[in-house]
């Protein structure tokens, strides 16, 4: 037989149990959760040495936020790279779908694992070419299974030879 | 698996009752004249061979010179589905009878099509815009809306 109020008391016991247990949440600025190696952060890692300026990433982008300006060298050889003048990514409009990373045939563009890029002005969210050149080269393994195979965890600096499927 | 009734399955059953409603010219899909839509829908719902008790999905496509409404029907009892289409020629003052009294599930879907495509459903109980506000210029899903 069911006693009136037992169901409600069962609920009380559940909450009492949790009162005595450690919490699940963490204190964000002090403690950060570990992100997975595939985590799509809101920055990008770009290896200028690997990039040919083919603009495949810009074509793949659903929003068209990647801006690439290139020019050929004065005496351009067939098959050699373009010179890249501008490579901007407007992360203010980016939705971090990683289609550009998937599309890149030369493994030059990677997702980064940073998630603390909040800013006061929308224009500051644009990652400029210089920022891409000088930024930390910690690519995530999103669409880069070759990095996972070597056990890379997304937290080390990789140079342009290690980051790609083949060395230059 | 849900049995998808093709045109070949449906037409012989329909022709007996509705000789002139079916637009037999089109090759791939079953087209129905807009004037007889209501009776055909009732037939689909009540006929023991169809028993289409649910209007699964109602959509509209803008083909510049005509609009095409696609009625996807579903019979939960017999686990079969059927599709028929209605063509509306022209771009202005498009009207088609509502099927809300046959399947009430059409209520919001017809309002959506009215809102975004500009096809007006007559006899609909509440023919108002659903997403956009009254007085919004144009119908966004039309191909000429930029």
């Amino acid at each position: 037989m069911r006693i009136f109020g037992v169901g409600a008391i069962k609920g009380l016991i559940v909450t009492l149990k949790y009162l005595l247990r450690p919490t699940f949440t963490t204190q964000y600025p002090e403690e950060k959760l570990n992100t997975s190696p595939r985590f799509r952060g809101n920055n990008f890692v770009w290896y200028e040495e690997r990039c040919t300026g083919c603009s495949t990433c810009a074509k793949a982008c659903p929003l068209g936020i990647i801006r690439i300006v290139t020019h050929p060298e004065p005496h351009q050889q067939v098959g050699s790279d373009y010179q890249i003048d501008v490579f901007d990514i407007d992360t203010g409009r980016c939705m971090f779908c990683a289609l550009c990373v998937e599309a890149c045939p030369y493994d030059a563009l990677h997702m980064g694992g940073d998630f603390e890029r909040a800013d006061y002005v929308r224009e500051d969210l644009v990652i400029t070419t210089d920022q891409l050149r000088e930024g930390a080269k910690k690519p995530q393994t999103q669409f880069r299974p070759q990095l996972e195979e070597i056990g890379y965890q997304g937290d080390e600096e990789l140079d342009e030879h290690e980051a790609g499927r083949w060395s230059l | 698996m849900t049995l998808e009734l093709t045109k070949e399955d449906i037409v012989p059953l329909l022709v007996d009752q509705f000789k002139d409603v079916i637009d037999l010219d089109a090759d791939q899909n079953l087209y129905i004249n807009a004037e007889n839509l209501h009776e055909v829908c009732l037939f689909f719902r009540d006929d023991p061979q169809f028993q289409m008790d649910m209007l699964r999905y109602l959509d509209c496509v803008d083909y510049i010179d005509h609009f095409e409404l696609r009625y996807a029907l579903l019979s939960l009892k017999k686990n079969q589905s059927a599709i028929f289409k209605v063509r509306l020629w022209g771009r202005d003052s498009l009207e088609i009878p509502s099927v809300v009294d046959v399947w009430e599930g059409a209520n919001l879907q017809e309002r959506e099509i009215y809102d975004l495509m500009g096809v007006e459903f007559t006899n609909h109980p509440n023919m108002k815009r659903v997403f956009l506000w009254e007085g919004f210029p144009g119908h966004p899903l039309r191909k000429d809306f930029l």
Partner: protein
């Protein structure tokens, strides 16, 4: 012109008005209760010291209120796997004060179409009765501001005035949400006053007095053991009166946003919000005094009282952390169809039991009951409590969910 100026100044001078209006309230207590009874060795409450005492009391209460908001948030947060506020001060204990400062420095908004006078007075009307309630609450044996002979009656009477403020707030806001909250609040309060008073009556029967000091003195056995049913009824009636879960209908946030205080902001909101916790504290002290045994003298006694109070407060916080809210028709049904009959049964049984022990032990009516008579009444009442718990689900209508679910082949899950 003149009225317009008043209306304009009202909001600006609101903080001063609170102080000015609250002072006569305490003066009133001082005048009504003349002479004030001074007890024992702690004869500090005389003349100007009376006001110093009041100052200490009111400030103590305000600090308690601010702390309670923090304590509730921390406790409920832990029930929800969260940490809760922990940034302001050590462990976040200053969170309440930070909130208070934030609220006081905020703009004091009054809706354009609100009735400004009533709108501004309502928070005071809500707060004043709760502060007045503390006048009769004994902290130590015989240590009260006003040792009224009708103490518990005074508590019940004065706290129900709070609903006037709730209704004033809801009506003056000129908001539909507020009006709904206000109407709900009044309906709820009127319903729950009845079982509350009936249950307290049993305590009065046992103690033979309305005086809170004498009620505590009569507790040879804590009255929670003598009157378990009355304790449960009082606990839930008080929850309804305090608008706490599961009866927080007049500020049901998921239905009517914030109920009667939807339109309040700044200091006025701080008053209303603080009153909620102040009233919870006050009623918890009253319940602790009524049910949880005697008062002990000295600082230790005060701490014991606070510990008892904390237990009751924790119950309220715990309910809030666990249970959802009932519907308006259900809350009234619970009051009139369950609690009122139960309270009536309880008072009849207790009255009978008292007559029985009086004839058994040859006690004159009016003399305090001793330990043994109380024990006998306790046994009778505990048996009654258990029997009622078992019988209640059999009553048609109360156990209807079980029947309905069984008919559908669904058992209520959640065993083990």
């Amino acid at each position: 012109m003149w009225a317009k100026w008043i209306a304009k100044m009202q909001t600006r001078l609101f903080n001063i008005a609170v102080l000015i209006l609250l002072t006569p309230v305490f003066l009133l207590v001082y005048i009504i209760k003349e002479p004030i009874v001074y007890y024992g060795s702690l004869n500090i409450l005389s003349g100007i010291n009376f006001f110093i005492g009041l100052f200490i009391l009111v400030n103590f209460l305000l600090v308690v209120t601010t702390m309670l908001t923090f304590v509730e948030r921390r406790l409920v947060a832990r029930m929800q796997n969260r940490i809760g506020p922990n940034r302001v001060g050590p462990f976040g204990i200053l969170q309440g004060f930070a909130d208070l400062i934030k609220l006081i420095t905020k703009e004091d908004l009054v809706p354009t179409l609100a009735n400004r006078t009533v709108f501004s007075l309502a928070p005071i009307l809500i707060m004043a009765p709760v502060l007045l309630m503390f006048a009769v609450i004994p902290i130590l044996p015989g240590f009260t501001i006003a040792d009224l002979d009708i103490g518990i009656f005074y508590v019940v009477a004065i706290t129900s005035l709070g609903s006037l403020g709730v209704f004033a707030a809801g009506w003056a806001s000129n908001s539909k949400y507020s009006l709904y909250g206000a109407v709900r609040g009044v309906a709820q309060l009127v319903s729950y006053e009845v079982p509350l008073v009936l249950s307290i009556c049993t305590i009065v029967l046992l103690a033979g007095s309305l005086n809170l000091n004498q009620i505590t003195g009569a507790q040879e056995i804590p009255f929670i053991l003598v009157q378990p049913l009355a304790f449960v009824i009082v606990l839930f009636s008080v929850a309804a009166e305090l608008n706490r879960t599961p009866f927080d209908l007049n500020e049901a946030d998921s239905e009517i946003v914030a109920g009667f205080h939807t339109e309040y902001s700044g200091t006025k909101f701080a008053l209303i919000y603080g009153t909620e916790y102040l009233a919870a504290f006050g009623w918890s002290v009253v319940i602790a005094i009524l049910f949880l045994g005697r008062l002990e003298p000295g600082v230790g006694g005060f701490l014991i009282l606070m510990a008892k109070t904390s237990i009751i407060l924790f119950l309220f916080f715990w309910f809030r952390g666990t249970w959802p809210r009932v519907r308006i028709d259900q809350i009234l049904a619970i009051a009139w169809k369950i609690m009122f009959p139960l309270a009536t049964i309880n008072i009849i049984v207790t009255g009978g039991a008292i007559l029985l022990v009086q004839s058994l032990f040859n006690l004159k009516s009016g003399t305090p009951l001793g330990l043994q008579p109380l024990a006998i009444i306790a046994i009778i009442n505990i048996v009654l409590f258990v029997v009622l718990l078992l019988v209640l689900p059999l009553i048609k209508g109360l156990g209807r969910f079980d029947d309905e679910l069984k008919a559908r082949g669904l058992e209520i899950k959640g065993g083990n």
